[in-house]
């Protein structure tokens, strides 16, 4: 089974950042409960070099590293989780 790797870039613990984190945790626990889900949170204030390497402009930015194709979504990911999953092309097709 494919492992799902998600990187979330935030700039400090803002309201938007907390909302994005909460949304991601929720889909990992529910909609993607059958998959191995790795969520890494990068605070660009602490690690600006990470933002430089990935050329991040906006926060929050979510990058789906695995499985391919790589997807990039900006925003606090609020609202309907189905929209987010569709944009991420998740769950992966068996």
């Amino acid at each position: 089974m494919d492992k799902i790797v998600l990187h979330l870039f935030i700039a400090g613990r803002t309201v938007r950042a907390e909302r994005a984190i909460a949304t991601l945790r929720r889909i990992c626990e529910h909609e993607l409960a059958n998959y191995e889900c790795e969520l890494k949170i990068v605070d660009v204030l602490a690690e600006p070099q990470q933002a430089e390497v990935r050329k991040i402009l906006a926060t929050p930015t979510l990058i789906k590293e695995m499985p391919p194709p790589v997807r990039r979504i900006i925003g606090d990911l609020g609202g309907d989780p189905r929209e987010l999953l569709a944009a991420l092309n998740l769950p992966p097709n068996p």
Partner: protein, 509 residues
């Protein structure tokens, strides 16, 4: 409350000429908006702002929203800026915010540009940069498609940069040369200092100008100034008004190369003056320029000749015909002849290259033969700016300049050249054909000699293998300058003579 002007410090940009028109440089610690249409050299300005800083030991951060760093490194290399080398030394850092090819933008919910701000701050702190350039804003607006958000976020970045004590340049697009300052209302957040670059098409010729629209709370030169973008240098602004004011003038006289001409001018030309010699084709303008330089060489002075009409061979042959050996003068290091066709480059570039020739050769005398050829290759406005720029440059160097100008008609007449530059020159000498009883003769007069008395008569002159010979005044003819000759009978001369008997008591023949 009265604002203290001295509190607004300047940061000299190091862009040649720009600091003149900016009265010292950009307001330090603020963000200046540089707006212009496509192709107006905004990116060059932004890069040069950093490059000039690096040459003064100040590190810089370049935030690119549009071109990829690799493209910028390559494009800017032609201006002599080795960005890759500076990057290796941590003196130049890119914050790459250019579009990535895999960058398919999906937006869900709200966001800010906190990551961009963090990257800029990181780059500034890492290098100790004092200058930041951001190029160009429009690209951000088209990519993020949310003008209000981009405006707010860029304002936040501008405020943060200011708090760090950075002087910044941010470029923005204009859709037209005149009208709103920039698209997307960006002037709302960097409205304090605005510079506009223009790339105009006038009479089918490209003309670049720079205008400082405002520096809030402080001074700058008003109006637009021409500039050019040249290899190995980048932007060079031609600061007309700023340089005009500082000329000194000398009362030292130098010889024109013709004793009689010196006498007519009240003892020769002034050492740092500009002499305009105007006449129809074949009246002897090139001869005057040649004798002017030959006289310099006899005194061990160097002369620089810019020839725009005749080839080097022609010039040397002409000189030999008048008994002047240009080749010998060249061998002695007393003469340098620069021939080119004015149509090849714009006048702004021409000016820069002439200035560098002058600076390298350091002549005491400069001759330009002829200005009219340059005038034909440009717009009237550019031409006037060119002459002002060149003239003040020459005067600063304490050199004498002799310009020739060709009148379009054989008899009488004046040229547009004269109309536009006569006030700039110190002396004007007119050479004219005179039709006298079915014969073409030549006459000359000193029309103007700033700061000195001069001979006001129209004298006949001849040209032979030894040069120019100035003779007696024309007595029985009037209307030479207008070309509408009237031959006067002796009785008429008598009558006029009685009417205009001057104080010296000399009666006309």
């Amino acid at each position: 409350m009265k604002a203290d002007q001295s509190t607004i410090e300047r940061l000299p940009t190091g862009i040649p000429g720009f600091d003149h028109i900016a009265n010292g440089g950009l307001p330090r610690g603020r963000t200046t908006l540089v707006a212009g249409t496509a192709g107006s050299a905004k990116t060059v300005f932004a890069a040069q702002f950093l490059a000039a800083g690096i040459e003064h030991g100040e590190a810089g951060v370049f935030v690119t929203f549009e071109e990829a760093p690799a493209d910028l490194r390559r494009n800017m290399y032609s201006f002599g800026w080795d960005i890759a080398d500076w990057e290796a030394q941590n003196r130049w850092v890119f914050v790459d915010a250019s579009p990535q090819h895999d960058d398919e933008l999906t937006v869900i919910g709200s966001y800010d540009l906190g990551a961009l701000l963090a990257r800029i701050e990181h780059a500034v702190k890492r290098t100790g940069a004092t200058r930041v350039s951001m190029d160009s804003l429009g690209a951000m607006f088209t990519r993020l498609n949310d003008s209000r958000l981009v405006r707010n976020e860029m304002l936040r970045i501008a405020v943060r940069i200011k708090a760090l004590g950075i002087t910044a340049v941010i470029t923005a697009e204009r859709s037209q040369e005149y009208g709103e300052i920039a698209r997307y209302g960006v002037e709302e957040f960097v409205a304090d200092d605005v510079v506009i670059l223009r790339n105009l098409l006038e009479e089918e010729k490209r003309r670049r100008t720079v205008e400082i629209l405002k520096f809030r709370g402080t001074t700058h030169q008003k109006g637009s100034f021409p500039f050019t973008v040249i290899p190995n240098q980048g932007i060079v602004v031609i600061p007309l008004s700023a340089i005009e004011l500082k000329q000194r003038s000398s009362s030292l006289r130098i010889t024109s190369g013709n004793n009689e001409m010196d006498r007519m001018c009240g003892g020769g030309f002034f050492r740092d003056s500009i002499i305009l010699v105007s006449g129809a084709t074949g009246t002897g303008k090139t001869l005057m320029a040649t004798s002017f330089m030959a006289a310099g060489a006899m005194r061990g002075e160097r002369s620089l000749l810019f020839a725009f009409e005749e080839s080097r061979d022609q010039l040397f042959r002409n000189a030999t015909g008048w008994g002047v050996d240009f080749e010998q003068m060249e061998r002695d290091g007393l003469l340098r002849v620069v021939c080119n066709y004015p149509e090849v480059t714009g006048l702004e570039d021409q000016l820069i290259s002439m200035q560098s020739e002058i600076s390298n050769f350091r002549p005491q005398r400069i001759a330009i033969d002829s200005l009219s050829a340059l005038e034909r290759a440009s717009t009237i406005k550019s031409f006037r700016e060119f002459v002002i720029g060149l003239t003040s440059f020459i005067k600063h160097q304490e050199m004498a300049g002799l310009y020739t100008s060709t009148t379009p008609t054989l008899l009488g007449g004046s040229s547009i050249t004269e109309a536009h530059i006569s006030t700039i020159t110190d002396s004007i000498i007119l050479l004219r054909y005179v039709e006298l009883f079915g014969e073409m003769r030549r006459g000359l007069t000193v029309l103007k000699m700033r700061g000195s008395s001069h001979d006001k008569e129209i004298r006949e002159f001849t040209i032979d293998g030894a040069g120019m010979h100035i003779g007696r005044p024309f007595r029985n003819i009037s209307g030479i300058l207008s070309g509408q000759f009237t031959h006067l009978t002796p009785s008429e001369i008598e009558r006029l003579g009685a009417m205009f008997r001057d104080d010296e008591g000399e009666v006309l023949e």
